[in-house]
């Protein structure tokens, strides 16, 4: 029983990382931008939060948790916004290919994060592993009246922020005028343009906002998932690709990303709790989330239901004079 409880708990925490990543990517893709730079942006968000918190905790005798939260959150947002801006400028304004730009952003972002994550302590003249006890603790604070319920008693508050955000995004995308405009841009930018929607503005805003949301995933990874340290082991990158997978799995619906992310978490951690697995067979078990995503991808294309297929203009640059 305790095993199952702790499996569910790891699944939720794991899932929240990719949920943020996927929510940001859903918002981005709804504008027709397929951003394969999500792993890079999540890495940027992660290193942003790490650097902000590190400088503050390093140079303050008794850092206050509230300031820790604010500083690391702001730096994480700035870094991931920078990633989003680079991508937007190159693909929207300069009309470069989205896949290639996204992959480059992943190379850059992961390299940048691993570079500074690995040498931040050295550059500051310290030794050993980075640790951010105060900030990490502030992010892992539980909501008081929920702390008596068995499964979720150790779940940090950002998990709930993720769930709320998913509902807000769902409502905004499908129940508001500006959400409708955004979807129109992603489906058919030329028509949206003719209807008087500022295509460039929508693409920029949704891509940058999406990048910031994905960046929270990186922040959550650092502060909660690995508890305020750094590991240059490609962990964020792998989770970033899972976030891209989750977008497909959720068929571009923010609300479905909630249970989808927890399911991915369960599938990813199951090997740990199933008895009788050797180290090699547990590696096979870890393919499950990807195999399930492929299955969903095939299933969706078999059914050919328009609303499950994602935005029609996904991956295409828009040039007004080319219509």
């Amino acid at each position: 029983m305790t095993q199952i409880l702790s499996l569910i708990q790891s699944a939720i925490i794991f899932g929240t990382v990719i949920m943020f990543g996927a929510l940001g990517e859903i918002l981005t893709e709804k504008s027709g931008n397929l951003n394969l730079g999500v792993p890079g942006i999540m890495s940027l968000g992660a290193i942003g939060s790490l650097m902000g918190a590190f400088w503050y905790e390093q140079y303050t005798a008794s850092p206050s948790p509230a300031l820790c939260l604010i500083i690391s959150f702001v730096t994480a947002m700035l870094f991931s916004l920078a990633g989003g801006l680079i991508y937007s400028f190159i693909t929207i304004t300069l009309r470069a290919n989205q896949n290639v730009t996204g992959l480059t952003l992943t190379i850059f972002g992961c390299g940048f994060a691993n570079f500074f994550g690995g040498s931040l302590n050295k550059l500051a003249g310290g030794v050993g592993q980075i640790s951010l006890p105060v900030t990490s603790k502030a992010y892992r604070a539980v909501i008081p009246f929920l702390s008596n319920i068995p499964i979720i008693k150790n779940i940090g508050w950002l998990v709930y922020v993720g769930i709320i955000l998913a509902f807000v995004l769902q409502h905004w995308l499908f129940r508001s005028r500006s959400g409708l405009n955004l979807r129109a841009v992603g489906e058919n930018p030329a028509t949206a343009d003719a209807a008087g929607i500022n295509v460039i503005k929508y693409k920029y805003l949704s891509t940058c906002a999406g990048a910031m949301i994905s960046g929270i995933g990186g922040l959550f990874y650092i502060m909660d998932y690995i508890k305020g340290t750094w590991a240059s082991d490609g962990g964020i990158e792998a989770l970033g690709w899972l976030a891209v997978a989750l977008v497909i799995f959720a068929t571009w619906r923010p609300r479905s990303a909630i249970w989808g992310s927890y399911l991915f978490g369960l599938l990813s951690w199951m090997y740990y709790y199933i008895g009788g697995l050797t180290r090699s067979t547990s590696e096979l078990f870890k393919t499950l989330p990807y195999v399930v995503t492929i299955a969903v991808l095939i299933f969706v294309s078999l059914r050919r239901k328009k609303e499950n297929l994602g935005p029609s203009a996904l991956g295409l640059s828009y040039f007004r004079e080319e219509r």
């Binding site: 397929l34 394969l36 680079i86 400028f89 190159i90 304004t93 300069l94 009309r95 470069a96 290919n97 896949n99 290639v100 730009t101 992959l103 480059t104 952003l105 992943t106 190379i107 850059f108 972002g109 992961c110 390299g111 940048f112 691993n114 570079f115 690995g118 040498s119 050295k122 550059l123 240059s232 792998a238 690709w241 891209v244 997978a245 497909i248 050797t278 180290r279 090699s280 067979t281 590696e283 096979l284 870890k286 393919t287 990807y290 195999v291 995503t293 492929i294 991808l297 095939i298 294309s301 078999l302 050919r304 994602g310 991956g315 040039f319 004079e321 080319e322």
Partner: protein, 363 residues
Amino acid sequence: MNEHKPFVHIVKRTDIKWWKAWIIRLVSVIAALIVCAAIIYAIVKLNPLKVYASMWSGAFGTKRRSWVTVRDTMMLLCIGVGLAPAFKMRFWNIGAEGQILIGGVATAACMIFLGNLMPTWLLLIVMLASSIIAGAVWGIIPALFKARWNTNETLFTLMMNYVAIQLTSFFVSLWEHPAGSNSVGIINQSGKEGWFPALLGNQYTLNVVIVGILTLGMFVYLRYSKHGYEIAIVGESERTARYAGINVKRVILRTMCLSGAICGVSGFIAVAGSSHTISTATAGGRGFTAIIVAWLAKFNTFVMILISLLLVFLEAGAGQIASDYNLNEYAGKIIIGIILFFILGSEFFINYRLVFRRKESAR
């Protein structure tokens, strides 16, 4: 009516002289190097020129380093060559990483289990064949679904990478040697069964020969063969292709089979001709970098040589900086990222022209 004119508007270029395009690209690379220099200076407070000199020595400083640079260039080039036909068909094969790994796993399996059973030349042929088959299978699975049900290939091939990575981990822990090390170690270290033999006094000659043949072959295939023509038509417009009587499904399957097979071969080269081991780092992100190589070269395999060399040079050079100045090796990824951003952005100025508003309205 001056006030109704925008300050700047963008016009598509229909023709640009090839030398002009190359000047624009060169300028973008130089601009990128200046930006990188500024960043290097900001971080390590060192003279960037000295740092670049140290990069040069890292890539070409000794004979051995030069050969390692050549080896890595060939590897990246091989993957790029494999991706070229798929991309020319507008089939987004993001799955090179997985195809390389599967090819590498097949190669390693042959080395481990058949190493003592046959002479080296036969073993090498069997290894090559199995890596081709493994890569082709990995490439053709997404193609089948694309051809039959129009399943999104970008995302499908992306997922296949991770399945391949986990499969590789599975085989690594299955074949681990010595037990508990969680790595395969150097395969056949004593007898060198299945290793590329040194030709003309150099260990990596065979790598160059194989990749050279593939590069030339792919250039001819894409430009002068009927298949290449069909690939180009399908890439331009599937409907046109169908109207012209081309069997689109067959072209997709055939091309992805070829693309996956060549990526599989690069796994073979990586294992048998370079690292002599297999791990999830055998592909090491090159499958993704090669996508950028293939795209920037516009599927011209000879241009790919240049771009691969540039990227490998940067990577090797950055590694040298890292060890010279006690930084970590990821510095190279930052520099590569910045340079690629600039080259990608520069394509805009090749494809489009900016027209500024004139002071007086021209009649």
